[in-house]
Amino acid sequence: MAVTGLDIYKLLPQTNCADCGVPTCLAFAMKVAAKQAALDDCPHVSEESKEALGTASQPPQKLVTIGSGDSALKIGNETVMFRHEEKFHHPCGIAVLVNDTDDLDAKAAAIKNLFLERMGQNIGVDVVAVRCGSGDGQKLKDAAMKMQAALNLPMVLIAESADKLQAAAEGLAEARPLLWERNGPSDALVELGARTGLPIVVEGDLDKCDGDVQKARQAGIEEMVLCPGEVTPRGALQFLTMSRRAALKRTYRPLGYPVLAYAWSQDPVQLSLEACHYVLKYGSIVVLDEDRPEYVLPVLVARQSVYVDPQVPVQVEAKVHEINEPHDKSPLLVTTNFSLTYYCVLGEVEASRVPTRILTVDTEGTSVLTAWAADKFGPEQIKEAIEKSGVFDQLAEGYQKPVIPGLVAVISGELSEELGRKVIVGPREAGGIRRFFNSEWPTLVGS
């Protein structure tokens, strides 16, 4: 949380003694707020003030790291309830549940199948939750080691009691798994967490979490994840909303931690919908006992969507994109540099296997109609983009005919005049591109 100069001023002796080298306490406070001076530069500041400032400058929701190295998952540190107020900062982890009694090779293979790419981003499953279904801590450790070797993803280790987590926690401490003792943490788990330095789950209703977090903090555990336990989606929504509000709006530290939400539904469709709902509403790790892509995909796409920064238009570079190795008789599609638009077009072009150039005009990341209405995708801008790109030099005579989206058919005449070339009106939607390539394109270029 940002601390203002005035907040700091209140913590100072307010004597204007200038011993710090700054004429007044207020001026000094401003410097500290701007990080140009340290509070310690004041020789008279009290220990209580130092501590208070240290606490006040902590973010209201703790950043928790699970896993290590490049694949580590950082969650928490969220600052708002609604994404338009700023943005959601740390995309939630999406975890698939594995039991130590499962066919682990098959599970690992299924999870690998969920490393998906969409619109230029990796959107796949990024956490594995390994559960001690066998009741044997050694088996849990073996299973976790195996998943670690096969997938190298951050892990949540789940068991009914702390003693069953011990072997895995100690054996895999460097991989920094999150320890989840069901209905925990017991004193034994707090001890294990403190000794290994691993993050732990605190499970229960808000009051239980409140008490248990404070207990664990006293034992020296800093990184924790809250979990409402086995509750209905309605109960989970209430927990997720209230804990986040208590942290962000009241700076209530015992609830200032990210939350793990487990989709308990039995039916896979309901499980998927429940998980989507936790992704939208404040879950920081969402665990699914499901690894079939048709059920997991909407959850992954929901996360990709809601963690987009709403203040920044999602755009791709404005340039000529060469797809399927185009030559001098390949079509030239013109569209905007709005990511969604571009990737829809790209997907269809790739699927068509037709060698193609896609020219993305800089519309500041706005879609075709929005850009056209705002005068960012008119004949002038398109002409300028074509000329700047020099793309006509790569095209044979007779093929220097840009294909514009059908939605802006109205500009084709003027663009044609400006360019002194024929302009082709393409399909209204990306979905029509393949048909267009097969049926209309050949006749339009007279081949």
């Binding site: 609604f82 994404r83 338009h84 199948n113 998906l116 969409r118 808000l206 009051d207 409140d210 209905t232 989606p233 309605r234 929504l237 209430q238 909303t241 209230m242 509000r245 208590a246 709006k249 009241r250 209530y252 015992p254 609830l255 539904s265 896979p268 469709v269 309901q270 998927s272 919908l273 429940e274 989507c276 709902h277 939208l280 509403k281 079939r292 892509p293 048709e294 059920y295 995909l297 909407p298 796409v301 929901a302 990709q304 969507s305 809601v306 987009v308 709403p310 969604l340 829809c344 997907g347 699927a351 939607e429 990306a430 979905g431």
Partner: protein
């Protein structure tokens, strides 16, 4: 230190809007549907009112369903081309309302005449007792031609008609006023445009309580999140007391799903995404649940399977309020 009570009491309330009229009310519906009335953010009924569950309409049309994606088409194949049968099916499938889409009036889709459209409305009303939503063509001249006849044909039934837009609202507003229907005000994902349209409608005599707003619709992964956020922002304004943002929200999801590759691409093309018969309805349901989380109260779907899935999911979130009988 006890956990602080962070429940929020908000000063505003969303308008309660009823669609449909029973015989006592001068219509012929066997039931009516009421949406809105919330004093809390979606589904947070532990701190405010969320008195009515989100309502679902299934779309039917006299137009060709050739362009419907296969997983939606397979459910309606038997009834497409017969609005009355189709309307009856919607009731069986658990729809709360029927949404008659007038696409068939567009010249590109057969150019059904105003009289034929009005007759379609009448036949649907005759075939099912559910309240009716009638959705225009998105083409102003066509809408202005057909909608007045349709509102007339449904006079007394308290239907919901759309859509009124900033550049084309007068004809529909006048028709809805004359025939006592509710109206959909459509503004593309922008609160200020939406408020401006509500003012325009108010100026020509439409009661703000009779408006349902449509911020336009995108599917999950295909623009939903922009509209999701627009709805959230509008809802914050409405619950804080802005009377121009207290209108319930409708989204028209069914027709958006066909353009989502992840939802409809066949397995031979996209084996990495799994079974298409699961993906297609689930995508529609997930989009619906997402919009409800933002604040939408009325959802128009195409796929009856998606309707069941979304309703079941929302039942786990929406508790019947204790005061309701």
């Amino acid at each position: 230190m006890p956990v602080p009570d962070v429940s929020e009491r908000l000063s505003g309330a969303i308008n309660e809007v009823t669609i449909g009229a029973t015989e006592e009310q001068g219509g012929s519906r066997t039931r009516t549907v009421t949406i809105g009335g919330e004093t809390s953010f979606p589904m947070l009924s532990f701190e405010g009112r969320y008195p009515h569950p989100p309502a679902f309409a299934l779309q039917i049309t006299a137009a060709d369903v050739d362009d419907w994606h296969a997983e939606a088409k397979k459910h309606v194949a038997d009834v497409a081309g017969d609005l009355e049968k189709w309307a009856g099916k919607c009731e069986e499938w658990g729809a709360d309302l029927i949404c008659l889409d007038l696409a068939a009036a567009h010249p590109d889709s057969g150019g059904r005449s105003p009289e034929q459209c009005a007759d379609d409305v009448k036949r649907v009303l005759g075939a099912s007792g559910l309240p009716l939503v009638v959705w225009g063509t998105d083409t102003d001249e066509v809408d202005n031609n057909i909608l007045p006849k349709c509102t007339q044909a449904a006079a007394g039934e308290n239907c919901l008609f759309g859509t009124a837009k900033e550049l084309n609202y007068r004809t529909l507003a006048a028709s809805c006023l004359a025939d006592s229907h509710k109206i959909i005000a459509e503004a593309p994902s922008d609160i200020n445009l939406s408020k401006q349209l509500h003012i325009l409608l108010k100026d020509v005599g439409v009661n703000l309580q009779d408006i349902i707003m449509h911020p336009t619709t995108g599917a999950l992964g295909f623009g939903m999140v922009y509209i999701y956020t627009t709805i959230e922002r509008g809802r914050i304004a409405g619950l804080s007391g802005d009377t121009l943002m207290q209108q319930p929200v409708v989204v028209n999801i069914g027709k958006e799903i066909g353009r989502v590759k992840e939802a409809v691409s066949p397995e031979e093309e996209s084996p990495q995404w799994g079974k298409v018969q699961v993906r297609a309805p689930l995508w529609e349901a997930a989009t619906a649940v997402g919009y409800v989380e933002a604040g939408a109260e009325l959802l128009v779907l195409r796929n009856p399977e998606a309707l069941q899935q979304a309703k079941t999911a929302l039942e786990a979130l929406w508790p019947k309020p204790p005061e309701s009988a």
